[in-house]
C-alpha cells in the first residue's frame, strides 16, 4: 500500500464543515492531495478504501500538545507522540515550547521540524514568548516566526508581567501569529493541586480558585482590546472564564479560546472518587459541575472555538506517587476523538459537524495551517471514524510512551480506524 499514490475512500459519510458537506460521497486522493469529492465513480487504478457505515472527516488538528522532545524523551518523543496522534485520528499537532531546553530560538524551531520529518503526522512548533519561559525578556519571536513557528506560548507558565505581555502582543502583530496564553495568577495558585470548591474543602486539599484563571483572562482580553492584538486563550476551564471570553468576543476583541477534552468530561468530584489518583491532576485543575456545563455551553454558542487534548505525557515513575507531589498533566491524543464522539455527539450535546469544526476546522484556522478541510487541492489529511466500534481505554495499549490517562478502563463507542496524512496511510485498523 505504501507505494500507492491514488486512493478512493468510498461509501463513507463525508463530514466537511469547510464546504458544508454532510453526505455519503466518495473521496478521491491523488499525489498527496484531495483530488475531488463525489462525481463520477472510478474505482480503477487506485487503492479502494471501503468506508461504508463510517464517518470520513478531515484529519483532526490538535493545537495544544506536549511532545517532551527535546529533554524528556522518556516521557514522549515526536515520533511516539505523532504515532499516538494518528491512532486518534489526528493529522496535525502543534507542540508547546516547554521542553528542556525550551523552544525559544529559531534553532529550537528548526530542531522540531527536523525531528518531525520522521513523525507520523504533521508537527508544528509553538515557540516560546519569553526567553527560557522565564517571563522576563521576549524571545526572538521574529526569527522563530521566520523559521516556521505557528504560534507563541509560554504554556505551562503564565505571563505574570503585563508589560512584557503587552510588548509580545504588539510585536506579534507584525507577523500575524497568535499568542497562546496560559492564564494563571500564581499568587492564587502556587502550591495548590485541585479546583477550590466543595470537593477540595471536604478533602482538605490545597486548592486553586477559578478566579486565578478568569482574572488573568480578563486582564489579557482587555489588553488585547486596547492593543488591537490577536490572542488565543489556552485550556479555558472555569465558567467565569467562558463568560469573560464571550463578552470579549462581543466587544470585538480578536480572541479565540480552547477547552480540553478532560475539562469537558470530568470534574473535581472525579478527583475525589479516584482516591486522589494523580492521573486526575492537571493544570488548570478539573473544575466543578457548573464549570463543565459552562464549557459545553461555550462550545455550542461559539465562545469556545476549539477542543484540544493538552496531551501532557509523564512516565509512570513520575506520576505514580501521592497527588500533591505528582506533576500536572494527562495524555489525550489517542482518546480525544472517541471521547468527544461518545460523550458529546452520541448523547446529542453537539452534532458530528460541530465536532469536526471544534477538533479540525477551527483549530487549523487559529494557527493558520493548511488543514481542517477536505476541499479539492487540500492536503490529503483524512480520518475515518467508525461510529459503532466499541473499545476500552487502556494506557498500556497506547502508542504514547506514557500512560497517564484519567480515562483508563472507560468503555467507549466510536473510534478512529484509519488515518491518512499527506496522502499516505498513517494508521489502518480498518482492514483488520
Amino acid at each position: 500500500m505504501e507505494n500507492e499514490t491514488k486512493f478512493v475512500i468510498k461509501g463513507g459519510r463525508v463530514i466537511d464543515p469547510a464546504n458544508d458537506i454532510d453526505e455519503v460521497l466518495d473521496v478521491y486522493v491523488e499525489d498527496g492531495m484531495i483530488s475531488r469529492i463525489g462525481g463520477k465513480k472510478n474505482y480503477q487504478d487506485r487503492a479502494v478504501i471501503d468506508a461504508t457505515g463510517k464517518l470520513v472527516m478531515p484529519g483532526l488538528v490538535d493545537i495544544h500538545t506536549h511532545l517532551r522532545e527535546p529533554g524528556r524523551e522518556d516521557a514522549e518523543t515526536i515520533q511516539t507522540g505523532s504515532l499516538s496522534a494518528v491512532r486518534g485520528g489526528i493529522t496535525s499537532i502543534c507542540c508547546m515550547a516547554n521542553t528542556t531546553p525550551p523552544v525559544d530560538s529559531s534553532a529550537g524551531v528548526r530542531f522540531i521540524y527536523d525531528r518531525a520529518r520522521y513523525a507520523h503526522c504533521w508537527v508544528y512548533p509553538v515557540a516560546a514568548i519569553s526567553k527560557g519561559l522565564k517571563g522576563e525578556e521576549l524571545a526572538e519571536m521574529f526569527d522563530m516566526a521566520m523559521a516556521g513557528a505557528v504560534g507563541f506560548s509560554d504554556d505551562g507558565r503564565p505571563l505574570s508581567n503585563a508589560q512584557l505581555l503587552r510588548n509580545a502582543m504588539t510585536y506579534a502583530k507584525m507577523f500575524e501569529l497568535p499568542l497562546m496564553l496560559h492564564e494563571e495568577d500564581l499568587t492564587l495558585s502556587s502550591g495548590r493541586h485541585m479546583h477550590e470548591g466543595v470537593a477540595s474543602g471536604l478533602a482538605g486539599m490545597q486548592a486553586v480558585p477559578s478566579v486565578a484563571e478568569s482574572g488573568m483572562i480578563a486582564r489579557d482580553v482587555l489588553l488585547a482590546e486596547f492593543l488591537e492584538a490577536r490572542i488565543h486563550i489556552c485550556h479555558v476551564s472555569a465558567k467565569e472564564s467562558v463568560d469573560v471570553v464571550r463578552v470579549a468576543k462581543e466587544r470585538g476583541v480578536d480572541v479565540t479560546a480552547e477547552a480540553t477534552v478532560h475539562h469537558l468530561l470530568l470534574t473535581d468530584e472525579d478527583v475525589v472518587a479516584s482516591g486522589f489518583d494523580s492521573n486526575f491532576k492537571m493544570n488548570p485543575p478539573l473544575r466543578a459541575k457548573d464549570d463543565l456545563a459552562a464549557l459545553i455551553e461555550g462550545i455550542n454558542d461559539g465562545a469556545i472555538d476549539a477542543i484540544v487534548t493538552d496531551h501532557a505525557p509523564h512516565p509512570p515513575e513520575d506520576k505514580d506517587c501521592e497527588f500533591a507531589v505528582a506533576p500536572f498533566g494527562v495524555i489525550g491524543l489517542e482518546t480525544s476523538a472517541s471521547l468527544v464522539y461518545d460523550k458529546l455527539v452520541r448523547p446529542g450535546i453537539i452534532d458530528v459537524k460541530k465536532m469536526v469544526e471544534l477538533m479540525s476546522y477551527n483549530p487549523a484556522r487559529i494557527v493558520d495551517i493548511s488543514a481542517g478541510t477536505l476541499s479539492q487541492g487540500a492536503n490529503a489529511d483524512i480520518a475515518i471514524f467508525d461510529p459503532e466500534h466499541k473499545w476500552t481505554v487502556s494506557g498500556r495499549a497506547m502508542a504514547s510512551k506514557s500512560r497517564n490517562t484519567p480515562f483508563e478502563g472507560w468503555e467507549l463507542t466510536g473510534k478512529p480506524v484509519w488515518t491518512m496524512v499527506g496522502g499516505e496511510v498513517a494508521f489502518d485498523e480498518l482492514s483488520r
Binding site: 493541586h193 477550590e196 470548591g197 466543595v198 470537593a199 477540595s200 474543602g201 471536604l202 478533602a203 482538605g204 486539599m205 490545597q206 486548592a207 480558585p209 482516591g275 486522589f276 515513575e317 505514580d320 506517587c321 501521592e322 497527588f323 500533591a324 507531589v325
Partner: protein, 308 residues
Amino acid sequence: MKEHLLGLEGYTGDEILEILELSKTFRQVLDRDVKRLPTLKGITVANLFFEPSTRTRMSFELAEKRLSADVINFSASTSSVKKGENLRDTVDNIGAMKVDMTVIRHGAVGSAQFIAKHCKTVVINAGDGAHEHPTQALLDFYTIREHFPDFKGLKVCIVGDALHSRVIRSNVFGLKALGADVTLCAPSTLLPMGVESWGVKVNCDIEEAIRGANVVNIMRLQLERQTAGYIPSLREYGIVWGINSELVDLMDKDHIIMHPGPMNRGVEITQDVADAPESVILPQVTNGVAVRMAILYLLAPRSGDIHE
C-alpha cells in the same frame, strides 16, 4: 469493619458506635496492673511518620505494644520524600520485610489511600494532609461518650482552623453520622470553600457558636497561619477566638472541654479553661491508646489476608 482505616467519611453512626463499644474493653485493660494483652503476638506494625508528631506516634506505639505486636518506627520529613525518595518504594520496602500493618502520617492528602491502593499492607491513616485523622476523631467521640451517652442532638462546637485541620474534617464526618448538632467556628479566612454544604452550622462569632454547647473542641492554631497571611496575629486570634472562662460560661451547664493537643496555652485556650474540672484533655490522651488498640485489633490481618 473495612479493610483499612483511611477516614471516617462514609462511616455510619452504628459502625462508629461499634468501634467505640469495643474500645471500652481495651480501656479497661489500661486500668489493670498488667496493661498488656497477648492478642497481636506475631503481628508486625510499622509506624511511618513523614511529618513530625510526638503524641500520635507514641499513642500508636503504645497501643501496638500493649497488644504485644512487634513495632518498627520510621520517621522522615515530607520534604526529604519530595527530594526523590518515593513514598511507594519506601512502603514497599518496609512491606517486603513482611510487615502486616502500616500506620501512616503524611503531609499529602490521599497518601493513606495511595498506600492502601498500591501496597500490600493494612493501612491506618494517622493523618493525611488536611484531609482526615480518623483515630483522633474516634478518641474524641469515645471521650464525649463517657460524659454524654447519646450523640443525638448533642451540641458540639468545634473552634479552629477548618481550612487546614484534618481533625475537624474527621470530627465533622463522624459527628454528623452519629447525629450530633455541630457548629464550626473560625475566622472567615480559615473556613474552606463549600463549608456551608457540610451539613453543620458555621458561625464566625464565637459567642453565638459556643452558646448552649455541651462540648467545645478547641483546635490548635498553627503559627504558620499568621505568616501565610490568614490571620493578622496569634494575639488577635487569642483575643477574638481564644476560649476563656467567660466563653465557657455561655455553654450548657453540663459541658466538657476538649483539645487534641498540643495546646498553645494563651492562644486558642486560656490556662484556667485548659485546667478546669470540665476539661477532658488528658482523658482524651488515655482514651486514644484504647481506641487505637481497638482499631489495631479490628484490622489486624487474619489468616491469608496479606501474605500469600
